[in-house]
Amino acid sequence: MLFRRIYQFLIVYSIGLISLLLIKTALSLSDYVIPGFGLILETFQEVFDTYFLDAMNTMSVTVLGQCVSIALAFGVGIAGRRSSWMGSFIKVTAYNIQAYPIVALAPIIFILLGDGFISRLLIASMICYFPLLLSVLGIMATPVEDIEHFYIITGRMRWQLEVKIRAFENLSKLTTVISGSATLAMAGTIVAEFIAANAGIGYSIRVALYQSDLAKILIALFLIGIIISIYQGCLETLGEQIKTRWSVSKGGNPR
């Protein structure tokens, strides 16, 4: 699983790189528009060490940001699952904030929270949490009547139980979304670093952009890709284990 992810990523990346180089050759673009392979390799040796550390730094925020956004998504999703006024109000709030691109909110965030670690984490989580929220909302708002009936009619239903039932019944959907959202957490962290930070691979990308150095950007993309593949591979393996542990072969199976 994990190894498959990694070599599949390598294939994807190579295809991308080769296409770029082909375009370069076809249009005979100079090295400053699209860097040649030699230049990329050279740059790779030059910046690998720094970029690798930067990427690991980003990774640590990513993991934390993802945890925060999972918590956030479940919090909002659970609070907003009812079709009551309050539920819909929470949803409207969550949706609206999301519609505001982070670049527009960033100044306000910096005014309110300063530009430390917290802002970076907040921005990363905000980017990551919304897609999670959508799935969680969808799942939490759909009753599983043939399981819930008993608890409702005997007056035992509590919101915790309701959430547990619906989450469990949709475990494979949830693990798909959660492990998938790792990439969003990564992207979010990078964007946060891009506009806020003083560290991380996002910061390095900003500097490289400022220098219009595509070779460096390509190397950053490579590192991001490989790290996210590993992280996601791990998450998926974990997800599989949780699923088999909880043994979810559910309802539909002909008995």
């Binding site: 673009l29 100079s30 090295d31 400053y32 528009v33 030059e46 910046v47 720094t50 670049v103 960033a106 100044p107 910096f110 005014i111 300063g114 530009d115 506009i195 806020a196 003083n198 910061y203 390095s204 900003r206 500097v207 490289a208 952009l209 400022y210 220098q211 219009s212 460096k216």
Partner: protein
């Protein structure tokens, strides 16, 4: 030891060599200060931080200062770092040299909409009677591809950072470049300056003095060609991204802007340029009323 926060306008690179050097060489600590020098970005604004108390000193461009004054911010300008605005335009040498403003006609000119360069370019146009029909304007972003691909002829850059990089990159491909500097045509738009809030200025004059003395000492030392190797080493510690040769070229370019000649003291206020900057902004309707910016300049 007094702790202070100092918010720069942009990322660490050679164009803030003096700020880095003052810190690294211990000029601040000699003055009994512990200064946290912090990077900036468009989203992080020194003036906001001064008001919110997150920073004690900062770097802001003149247009930011004037806009803030227009909106009632209480700030003081302590030193004008750039004697020449680094905001310039680059163009290839295989194109006709821009000797007069009229030579701009018919060119495809890059402008960052909403940025300073737009204000400056509009002023130049007004000066030369150029209308939008006479030139082609292209909005630019942070990447230079349209310029590389010759879709845009005249491209806005910071002379001492991106300008150096671009020049180097193109020269490697055998292309030479020129820079178009608005100051050569009578438009003096002030760039980065050191500022503090009026509160700090009034209540802690001794801190202001100590800070500014140390900072300017740092800048003087950093701009001294004798220290070049040392300065470059200190900058490299903060800015790992560009290579040594580029940094050296950037430092030379920065020197031209900060200390155009040996006689100029670093930090000198060009009051006329400030007034012109305000006039331009008023003319461009970027501020609603005159703010008399000269009244907040430390003389």
């Amino acid at each position: 030891e007094i702790e202070l926060n100092y918010r720069l306008k942009w990322l660490f690179n050679t164009s803030v060599a003096g700020d880095i050097y003052a810190d690294a060489k211990g000029y601040f600590s000699e003055a009994g200060l512990k200064v946290h020098v912090r990077e900036g970005s468009p989203e992080k604004n020194a003036i906001n931080e001064l008001e919110l108390g997150h920073a004690d000193f900062g770097v802001a461009s003149a247009d930011q200062v004037i806009r803030a004054l227009d909106k009632g911010a209480k700030i003081r300008v302590l030193a004008q770092l750039f004697q020449v605005n680094p905001m310039q335009w680059i163009y290839r040498a295989d194109q006709p040299r821009i000797k007069t403003l009229d030579d701009l006609r018919g060119r495809n000119i890059g402008i960052t909409f909403g940025g300073n360069d737009e204000t400056v370019m509009n002023t130049l146009f007004a000066k030369a009677g150029i209308t939008s029909k006479d030139v082609k304007i292209t909005g630019v972003r942070f990447d230079f591809t349209p310029f590389f691909k010759r879709e845009v002829d005249v491209w806005p850059v910071y002379f001492n950072s991106q300008g150096v990089i671009l020049k180097d990159r193109l020269e490697k491909e055998g292309e030479r470049v020129y820079f178009f500097n608005p100051a050569d045509f009578g438009v003096n738009f002030v760039a980065n300056s050191v500022i503090s809030s009026e509160k700090v200025w009034k209540n802690r004059p001794e801190v202001v003095k100590k800070f500014m003395d140390a900072l300017l000492k740092g800048w003087e030392a950093a701009m001294d060609p004798a220290n070049e190797a040392d300065v470059l080493m200190e900058v490299k510690k903060q800015d790992k991204e560009s290579n040594d040769e580029l940094r050296r070229l950037q430092l030379i370019a920065t020197r031209e802007l900060i200390k155009p000649s040996a006689g100029v003291k670093i930090g000198t206020m060009d009051v006329e340029a400030w007034k012109q900057t305000e006039a331009i902004m008023l003319n461009e309707k970027q501020i609603k009323k005159p703010v008399h910016v000269e009244s907040v300049l430390k003389q």
